[in-house]
């Protein structure tokens, strides 16, 4: 889909290799596994925990021109929802083509209802979403 997924932790690339080799859950992994042992990239995105030297669970979407469009950061003990990450990614692709529209929270894919902000919508979002 014209996107590169990179997973990042503060482990080295050698540990990534060992983990990929040993953990059967990772058998199908194709994405690049990024090593950030200095925490430099983790700090750039605000997910570096100075107390532990680990990265919090963060997901970030960057456009081809280098703009940060989405971020989600969870504490250690809460997983992220991949469907929601993909929904945001698809919405970004859609909005890159239709910059004057907005994707409401229930938007899932091309063809779903979008909003077009303007004077007619002031106080009429309910009607715009449900007509």
């Amino acid at each position: 889909m014209g996107a590169e997924l990179i997973t990042v932790s503060t482990d080295t690339e050698f540990v990534h290799l060992a983990w990929k080799r040993d953990e059967k859950e990772l058998a199908d992994v194709k994405y690049a596994m990024g090593a950030d042992p200095t925490g430099k990239v983790s700090r750039l995105f605000g997910v570096y925990d100075e107390g532990t030297g680990l990265a919090l669970r963060g997901a970030f979407i960057i456009s081809p021109d280098g703009t940060l469009f989405n971020s989600e950061v969870n504490f250690y003990n809460m997983g992220r929802n991949i469907d929601e990450l993909m929904r945001k990614f698809k919405a970004n692709l859609y909005l890159a083509r239709k910059a004057d529209e907005g994707c409401p929270s229930k938007w899932k894919d091309d063809g779903d209802k979008t909003l077009r902000p303007g004077p007619e919508m002031v106080g009429r979002v309910h009607e715009a979403l449900n007509d």
Partner: protein, 56 residues
């Protein structure tokens, strides 16, 4: 701490960064930089997690 890093904000340009990566498909090590990904016209999705050998 001489080179302090500012956290990038939503809607702002991300400064270039580079990561050494393990590439399972080639079973080799490599590099990924935001500059290269931009040049290739690609979106970049970064997925941080605390540590290998734990659940992600």
């Amino acid at each position: 701490m001489s080179d302090e890093i500012t956290t990038v904000k939503i809607g702002h340009k991300v400064p270039d960064f580079e990561l050494t990566v393990y590439e399972p498909e080639n079973h080799d090590f490599g590099k990924r930089s935001l500059a290269d990904l931009k040049k290739a016209g690609k979106w970049t999705i970064l997925f941080f997690y605390p540590a290998d050998f734990t659940f992600v």
